[in-house]
Amino acid sequence: MTKQTELSAISINDLTVAYNEKPVLWDIDFHAPQGVLLAIVGPNGAGKSTLIKSILGLVKPAAGQILVFDNDYRPQSRLIGYVPQKNSVDWDFPTSVLDVVMMGCYGELGWFKRPSHKERELAINCLEKVGMKEFMNRQISQLSGGQQQRVFIARAFMQDAPIYLMDEPFAGVDAATEKSIIALLRELKDKGKTVICVHHDLQTLKEYFDWVMLLNVRRLALGPVNEVLTAQNLKKAYGGKAGFLAGMNTEEK
């Protein structure tokens, strides 16, 4: 499907990140091909969010190189759309659903410029795509967890970037919403976009994603889901706790 020669969406060489001298990511090599749905999977404290934040330049790495389409990344280039963790923001903030979605175009507008009628229309469109149009004038605190997540996805649509980084887009949503979100992510992928998600649920990994990276401070495995998701690799990532997971995996084979 993806040839070796094709340009990677994101390629990382020897990335090391440390908080207070303690390494959170150690010597990571990571190459994400274009046009895949890729999951970053690993136990708590594995450095999954940190990896995403390093790519975005929100965290300063101690060493290593991060390239986006073979270039150093600048936020101004708007090559990456970002969906932060749902609970990283204050949902009591006095603003409407439509307003939050419009924030997705702030990068394109740049400093000073205000969103106009055109951006408003675009935002309504994006809300329609995620089935939240009728909520556009709602105060954001009145949304359920799944609705909040869909608003964030609509905001990501608004950013219209070739690469998306999403931090746990399925956290705190019910099964039905999860299905509708994955359908939206596939839609992005079908448009040729690269979608990289921090993911927690190993059960749904095969069903939802085509590529996976197993991470636990070090990079343990990276590749198409079927190749990477072996009992041995899972044990490397999760240690002894992976007993039941490994069982699940062999069953599915």
Partner: protein, 370 residues
């Protein structure tokens, strides 16, 4: 005398609005206490600048105060970044230190100058009209009004031009950074505004009222609206009401004007806290009571629906079931039944309770919802 009164009220209102504007963002960023820290610590900057200029109306005082304000923020963040202490403790450590150095310096070296601890805390709004600005012997009005107006213009200009950036970096700093907006820079710009605002308001109203005016009006506005832009205007409005109301109160009781303004702003906040239409305590109580009643009605109708499906007359049984299993008192049970009859969910046929079509709909709806 009338002009003096008008000038005091104008100065007080301008100060209130100037403080409310950055206050909105302090509240939303959950760093309200930072206003307390900055408004106290700037005293050190004022004193140090005064040592250099020997002139209390030099603009250099504002520069000095602003620098110390930013120093306060940086020191606080430095302590937080060590991960040894939390934010509140860090703030509580830094500003008393800077403030008290300022107080000691005043006591030691400026004994004969018009700058003392009382005026630091409460300001001298009543005397503000006597400190006038003259250019070529033309009386341009109280100097305080010019100073605070400049700060107000600065705040309005900044919020107008950086509204989008302030909103995004306050709501979602991560996305702001990812889109290239430097939320750290915006944070320091905002803190600089808070410092400039505090020092500009300082002479008239003192450091305590600066805190009251930065926090109480935006906190009240926060409970009244769901839109950031409205919150800004409502805060300004509450500020003006506090200013004028406070002046009236001071006049009536012959009390300190700044203290009266702070009192009024606090009272307004408490009134909003209780009576805000959506987020107020009373509104919440009404909603909770409604939920409780709605739950009771749902339970009763669902049980009756169950009886209907099984084609049985369980009326007696259901009522005793409610009392036993739902732990309803007999009084509450008959209250719920009466209420349900009044809302036309159920009808009484002799001793038998029967669902109306409307009540059946209600029962089905509650089953779907759960």
């Amino acid at each position: 005398m009338l002009t003096t009164q008008f000038e005091i009220m104008l100065l007080a209102s301008l100060t209130a609005v100037t403080c409310a504007l950055p206050g909105v963002f302090l509240i939303l960023r959950r760093v309200a206490l930072m206003s307390d820290a900055i408004s106290h610590a700037i005293l050190l900057g004022i004193v140090l600048a005064f040592f250099i200029t020997k002139n209390l109306s030099s603009p250099l005082l504002i520069v000095g105060a602003t620098l110390v304000g930013i120093l306060t923020v940086s020191l606080t963040e430095l302590i937080i970044r060590t991960h040894k202490l939390k934010k509140d403790a860090a703030i509580g450590l830094v500003f008393p230190l800077l403030f008290s150095i300022g107080v000691v310096l005043i006591n030691k070296y400026t004994g004969d100058v018009h700058i003392d601890a009382d005026c630091v805390l409460f300001g001298e709004l009543a005397f503000a009209p006597f400190n006038r600005l003259y250019i070529n012997d033309i009386d341009l009005g109280p100097q305080g009004i010019w100073v605070i107006s400049a700060a107000l213009m600065l705040n309005i200009t900044f919020i107008f031009f950086f509204y989008k950036e302030l909103k995004l970096s306050t709501f979602d700093a991560g996305l702001a950074a990812a889109l290239g907006f430097f939320p750290g820079l915006i944070h320091y710009a905002l803190m600089t505004l808070v410092s400039i605002t505090a020092v500009s308001a300082f002479e008239s109203v003192g450091s305590i009222l600066v805190v009251a005016l930065m926090i109480a009006p935006p906190a009240g506005a926060y409970l009244l609206t769901n839109r950031l832009s409205h919150m800004i205007f409502i805060s300004a409005g509450i500020g003006i009401i506090s200013a004028i109301g406070g002046y009236g109160m001071a006049y009536a009781f012959n009390a300190n004007i700044a203290g009266s303004m702070a009192t009024i702003s606090g009272v307004i906040f408490i009134l909003i806290l209780f009576f805000a239409p959506e987020r107020g305590i009373l509104a919440n109580m009404v909603v909770r009571k409604w939920h409780k009643w709605d739950f009771a009605a749902s339970t009763l109708t669902v049980h009756l629906l169950q009886a209907e499906i099984e084609d049985a007359d369980y009326t007696e049984h259901i009522v005793s079931h409610m009392i036993r299993h739902m732990k309803w008192t007999p009084e509450y049970t008959s209250e719920v039944i009466a209420q349900c009859i009044q809302e036309e969910f159920i009808e009484k046929h002799g001793s038998k309770l029967v669902l109306t079509p409307y009540g059946r709909e209600k029962a089905n709806l509650s089953l779907v919802k759960n």
